[in-house]
Symmetry: C2
C-alpha cells in the first residue's frame, strides 16, 4: 500500500469474462517514465502516452482483451474520447491520464462499454485494491503478478510493481505490461538511466517464445516534489529487485511452460557475443522441446550456439547442466542419461555454456516449449 495511490479493476465487457479494465489513481500528480516495445508497429496507447509522459500525471487506465494496435488514427482518438470522460469523473486534466492496452491486435476498443464502466471503476478505487488492478490486466496469465519492497533511508518509502506476461514474451520486450509505483520522491531525469538499465537487466532478460509485441510497456511512477537523495541507493536496489522479481514471474508463467531455464553464456570475447548466443539458445524450439522432454540433448544447444552469427571456437565449448559437466572441448563427457533426465525433471534448470574464448558473459531466462503453448495459441485468439 502506498498513501495517495488507489487502485481498481472491473469487468467492463471488453473480454467475454473476467476483469478487463484497471485504474490507478494518484491523489497528487506523479512523475512517470516509460520503456516501450522495440516493435516498429506500436499500439495506440504508446503513440498517445509518448506525448503526455513528459509531465506529471494523475492516473493510468489499463485494459486487457484488446491491444488497440493497428487501429489507425481512430485508435488514438478513442483514447482521447475516454480521457475526456475519465478526467471529468476524476476531476483531473485530460492530459493527466495515461493508457495501456493488451490483447488482440487489430480490433478497436469498445469505447462505449468502457465509458459506461468508468463510474463503477471510480467507485471501487481503494488504497489496498492493487490485486484487482493486477488481475484486470491479465490475458493468458494464470496468476496476478505483484511485488513490493521497502526503501530504507532516513525515511522509509514503498515501492510496488505489477506486471502481466504469458505469451509474446521476448527479450527487448513482448506483450508485457508492467507498472511500478513508489512514494519515493525522485525526478525522472535523475533516474532515467537507472530505470533503463534496470529494464535491460530484468524484462529484457526473459523470453517465452521469441515474439515481440506491439504493446509492451513498463512505466515507473515516482512522487513529485522535493527529492530525497538520502534513500537513492536503496531505491535503485529495490527498483531493480521489484523489476527482476516481476520479470521472473512472467517467465515462470509463460504460456504452457513447465520449466524455467536460466541460461548463462560465459567465456565470450565480448558481452555482445555472449548475449547473441544466449538469446539464440533461449529461442531455439529444438532446445526448448528437449527441455520439455527432460532430454539432455546438448547437441541442440551447441547447434543453436553455432547458429548465433558470432565468432566461435567450435572445438572449445563446455556445457554444464544442473551443475554437471556434459560437454568438454565440444565433445561429450560420458554421463548417465537416466540420472540426468531425473536432474532435468525440475521446475528450474541451470544451463551454463562456456565458450573458453574470453571473459564476457550474459544470462537470460527462458521456458520450455510444450503442447500447451500450441493449445493456447492455436485455439485461442490471444
Amino acid at each position: 500500500m502506498i498513501d495517495g495511490i488507489q487502485f481498481a479493476g472491473v469487468a467492463s465487457g471488453i473480454k467475454a469474462n473476467g476483469l478487463d479494465l484497471g485504474l490507478a489513481f494518484f491523489k497528487e500528480p506523479m512523475n512517470c517514465l516509460s520503456l516501450y516495445t522495440r516493435n516498429k508497429v506500436k499500439a495506440a496507447h504508446i503513440l498517445y502516452d509518448r506525448k503526455i509522459e513528459h509531465h506529471p500525471v494523475r492516473a493510468i487506465l489499463v485494459n486487457s482483451g484488446c491491444a488497440n494496435a493497428c487501429t489507425g488514427k481512430e485508435g488514438v482518438s478513442d483514447l482521447k474520447t475516454i480521457a475526456g470522460e475519465l478526467s471529468g469523473i476524476l476531476g483531473t486534466n485530460k492530459e493527466e491520464i495515461l493508457f495501456a492496452s493488451t490483447g488482440v491486435i487489430g480490433r478497436r476498443l469498445p469505447t462505449g462499454r468502457m465509458i459506461s464502466a468508468l463510474p463503477g471503476l471510480y467507485k471501487s478505487l481503494r488504497n489496498n485494491n492493487i490485486e484487482s488492478f493486477a488481475r484486470s490486466i491479465m490475458t493468458t496469465d494464470t496468476y496476478p503478478k505483484i511485488v513490493s519492497e521497502t526503501i530504507h533511508g532516513e525515511k522509509a518509502y514503498n515501492i510496488i510493481g505489477v506486471a502481466k506476461g504469458a505469451g509474446m514474451i521476448n527479450p527487448l520486450f513482448a506483450t508485457m505490461l508492467s507498472f511500478v509505483f513508489t512514494d519515493y520522491p525522485v525526478s525522472p531525469s535523475r533516474i532515467k538511466g537507472i530505470f533503463s538499465k534496470a529494464g535491460k537487466e530484468t524484462f529484457e532478460r526473459v523470453t517465452v517464445d521469441g515474439e515481440c509485441s506491439t504493446n509492451d510497456t513498463v512505466t515507473l511512477f515516482t512522487k513529485t516534489g522535493e527529492e530525497d537523495l538520502d534513500g537513492l541507493d536503496d531505491f535503485k536496489n529495490k527498483l531493480y529487485l521489484v523489476m527482476k522479481a516481476l520479470s521472473i514471474m512472467i517467465v515462470k508463467d509463460g504460456e504452457g511452460a513447465t520449466r524455467v531455464i536460466h541460461i548463462t553464456v560465459q567465456g565470450a570475447k565480448k558481452k555482445e557475443h555472449a548475449e547473441k548466443i544466449a538469446r539464440r539458445i533461449a529461442i531455439s524450439p529444438l532446445t526448448k522441446t528437449a527441455f520439455f522432454g527432460c532430454d539432455p540433448n546438448w547437441g541442440r544447444i551447441i547447434a543453436a550456439a553455432g547458429d548465433a552469427d558470432v565468432p566461435l571456437r567450435p572445438s572449445k565449448i563446455e556445457i554444464i547442466m544442473q551443475g554437471r559437466q556434459l560437454v568438454k572441448e565440444s565433445v561429450e563427457v560420458p554421463f548417465n542419461e537416466q540420472e540426468l533426465k531425473k536432474m532435468m525433471n525440475k521446475k528450474e534448470i541451470e544451463l551454463t555454456v562456456n565458450l573458453h574464448d574470453g571473459k564476457a558473459s550474459f544470462d537470460i531466462y527462458t521456458t520450455d516449449l510444450t503442447y500447451d503453448y500450441i493449445k493456447i495459441n492455436a485455439s485461442y485468439r490471444s
Copy 2:
C-alpha cells in the same frame, strides 16, 4: 536412372530400425560441388569433404542416425578409417570417397558396424536403386524425396536429386542433406555461381523451425570430361527445378506440419528488407500456431513484421491471405471469420504482405507449428 551411377541402401545398425547407410558409386570419377551449413559448428563430414571435393570423386557414403558432429578429431579419423575400407571394396582411391551424416549430435559413428555392412552395401549397388539410397538417409522424414528431370540439348541428359529434411530446417540450411546427380558433362568452375544461386533460391527459401544444423550439405555431381555447352541453359533450368522441388518436399514433410505457408513480402524498399520480414514471419511461433488453428490472426503477422529490425512504414501494411485482403493501411478490412477459417483449412496457404514502400520482394515457404512437432522433438532423440 543415370548410366554409370549405382545406388544402394542398407540397415547397418546405426539406428535401431530401418535403413541407415546409403552409397552412391560412380563408374567414372565425377565432379562435385557442395554448399554447406552456415553453422559455426560443423560436422566431421564437412571438415573431411572440404579437403577432397576439389577433385573428382567416385562415391559418396551417407548415414542417418548419427550426425558425427561434436566428435572432435576422432570424428574425422573415423571417416578416414571407413574410407580405407570402402576404397578397398570399391577399387578406388581413398581420396575419391565423400561422406555425409545426419542424426544425433555428439555421438561417434559405430565404425565397426558400418564397416561390417560395407560388403553387403556394395553387393546391393544397382542402377535403379535410388529409392533405397533416399530411404537410408531419412531421419524423421515420412517419405523418401526423389526428383528427376531430363536435360534437352543436342543430346539428352538426366538429372536426379534426393533429399532428406524434416526438422532443424531453416533458410540458409538446416539438417538437410541433398545430393543431385547428372550425366551432363560440365565443369564445377562453370556452374559454381549457378549452383550457389540455385541453393539460395531453393533450399535457403524454406524453413520448418528456424533451426540450423551442424550437418547441412547439398552436393551436386556432374559428369567429367569434355563439356557439352549446348545443353547449358536447359541444365540450369532443370537443376533449379530439381532443387526447388526437393526443397518444397522438405517443407511439406516438416516435422508435425499440417500446412505449408508460402509467404511473399512485396513493396519493400530493398530486397534485404523484404527478406528479413519474410523470414521473421516464417519463424514466428505465434503466427505458425495460428496457421495450425486456421486462425486469421493477422495481428501476429504484423507484429512479427514490425519486429524484423528493418525500416517499416507501420501505417501502410497490406495483408492478403488466400487472395483475400485482410488488412489495408495496417487496419482490418472487415471479413467473415468463419469463411476465412474455412479458406485457411488447406494444405497450402498463400500469404502476401505488401509494405507499400518500394518495389523489392522476397518469398519463402514455412510450415505451421503443431502438437506433433512438440511430440517428435520432446520425446524422440533426433
